[in-house]
Symmetry: C2
Subunit: 372 residues, 2 copies
Amino acid sequence: MDLYIDRDQLAVGLSRVQGVIERRSTFPMLSHVLFHAHKDGLRVTATDTEVAYIGDLPANVQQPGELAVDASNLFAMVRAYGDTTVHMKTLPGNKLDVSCGRSEVRLPGAPASEFPAMPAFDPRGTARLSEGALRRLVDQTSFAVASEDHRFGLNGAHLEERKNAAGERVLRIVATDGHRLSAAEARIEGEVALSPRMLVPRKALAVMKKLLEGDTETVELGFGEGAIRLQRAGQTFWFRLLDGEFPDYSAVVPKEGKHVAIIGREELSSTLKRVAILVQDRARAVKFSFREAELEIQVHNVDRGEIVESLPIELEGEPIVAGFNVRYMQDILAVTKGSTIRLEMAHPLAPCLVRDPESDEAFFVVMPMRLD
Amino acid sequence: MDLYIDRDQLAVGLSRVQGVIERRSTFPMLSHVLFHAHKDGLRVTATDTEVAYIGDLPANVQQPGELAVDASNLFAMVRAYGDTTVHMKTLPGNKLDVSCGRSEVRLPGAPASEFPAMPAFDPRGTARLSEGALRRLVDQTSFAVASEDHRFGLNGAHLEERKNAAGERVLRIVATDGHRLSAAEARIEGEVALSPRMLVPRKALAVMKKLLEGDTETVELGFGEGAIRLQRAGQTFWFRLLDGEFPDYSAVVPKEGKHVAIIGREELSSTLKRVAILVQDRARAVKFSFREAELEIQVHNVDRGEIVESLPIELEGEPIVAGFNVRYMQDILAVTKGSTIRLEMAHPLAPCLVRDPESDEAFFVVMPMRLD
């Protein structure tokens, strides 16, 4: 292998593998990036065997070849380069010589044969959507995925194909940790061809957040046996699905609420930021009193003090008092964009439906808590 | 106490006490700020008994009074306020009612009588210098102070009055951890009237870094019995000195070096950034080979790889090879401003004198290390 590559291109390529590699594994290859130079450019591959990434970078390849090296050190090095062209060359003894300007580094490597083989992938169906839309689906749902819950079916996000109100095919992603639920959907072309009981793990969602940078470009999701393949120009991301039964969530999504409040989103967000300061125990219910034209939020904490915040709202239906985990509300406000947010409740202990009143693309359910 | 104060003024005043308060003390008053409202404004006081800060803020005081409250929660709250005027009022039971816009918080407090009394201070001499100059002295020396060294005299910075080459009075601050030394000086008016064996502790240096924001304003240092008082407009910072014998450092400052290298500062800085990536053990010597017109820096690490960097230098005297802790060199490059840096050595194991060739205001000594 002997090639010249633009420093920024190489840095971007290596930055994309940082979320995929597994630094603390006992199997050193999982912290490595595999370089494969061929006549059209340089391919970088990384995997922790649950997720895998393949990216193609433009490079001036003098001599094809392959070698795997530690991805973190090389990435740090490339970011610190002052010059713009990087020369990479394999040396005898599985070493990679990387030089840029007056800097030359020789990194210990491993032959490609020691790198885990990429799994075979045979899609039984594909769906296409815009990169920005997929990114939104991930952003609006990933925070609600449970973290190592004993209910195995909550430890990943659920995918399904539906028809929206206009009769269009949409991909819906749903996540819940048992206390709150997020659902977001976006129009697709093609079909969602998933085997049942398959969930997208947290790490795959986290990697997608990093990879999906653009907006209008089209990405393709391929649905295979227990795995999904995401393709965008020059990049492939593959991830294994979790085998777990997602709960029948339709039961907890409230159908109608007698009490509907419309609240300014940014105003509620800055209010909750102050309220959260006095909430010592995250799981503690905060009192939300919805009145005719005012929402009053109160915390009473013996050690930290009391806070009373009020903000103007529009309320349909009777006044109502309910307890919420402030953090859950903050998470929702962070992933919606409208000027207002709509809260809908049947009674103080019924699930609260939260959504941007200007958008049908997502909804959220927050379970209220008993007030002491 | 009953007053109105500008939110930004209060936020700045509270931000200045954050470095002074001690959050993990068993004595809760040390995490508190004492408010004292008087006819001219609001005084904030914080102390951990080793350092103390008093700041005066403009405020519209309706009714004078005093109360101490937890400083961190209030600071977080004030920063999150959307409106610009804050109303603070004491309530029965040592509570502080703070309201801003539609937000109202009641914080548990403690009477001023429970707050530690500020120590008496009777300066036996004072020195004045510009705020920017004092900040530079602290920046250029604080990193070299030892951290909990068993040699007690290394755990603080040493202050002394000297005459510079032009015969002017200067304040010199010196710090060393036994492996490297920093000395920086600035012209003063007045006199440094310190008792012997007195050192400025690390925390006082850290607080000064935060407080000294301006440039040309004059600050006054007052020298008392085992303590120093720093005064700038509307603010007083007091700190207790450590009782410890600073070593006679003049012995380690090299008088002349046969080998003198002039190196581009930014170029050396970016080179060392790359070199540091492959240095696993911080205390490991890195090989610096000074040649006629080139400095070659080499690291050989079995696990991480080898690096060879070269950069152009001007060298007076014979070529020389020496080992250095890269981190020590990086610390110096971060606090000098000139376009070049000058390294001066008598022989490979003699202390290396480092300085900005364009400035007499500071010098640094780095002990070389044996190369394996």
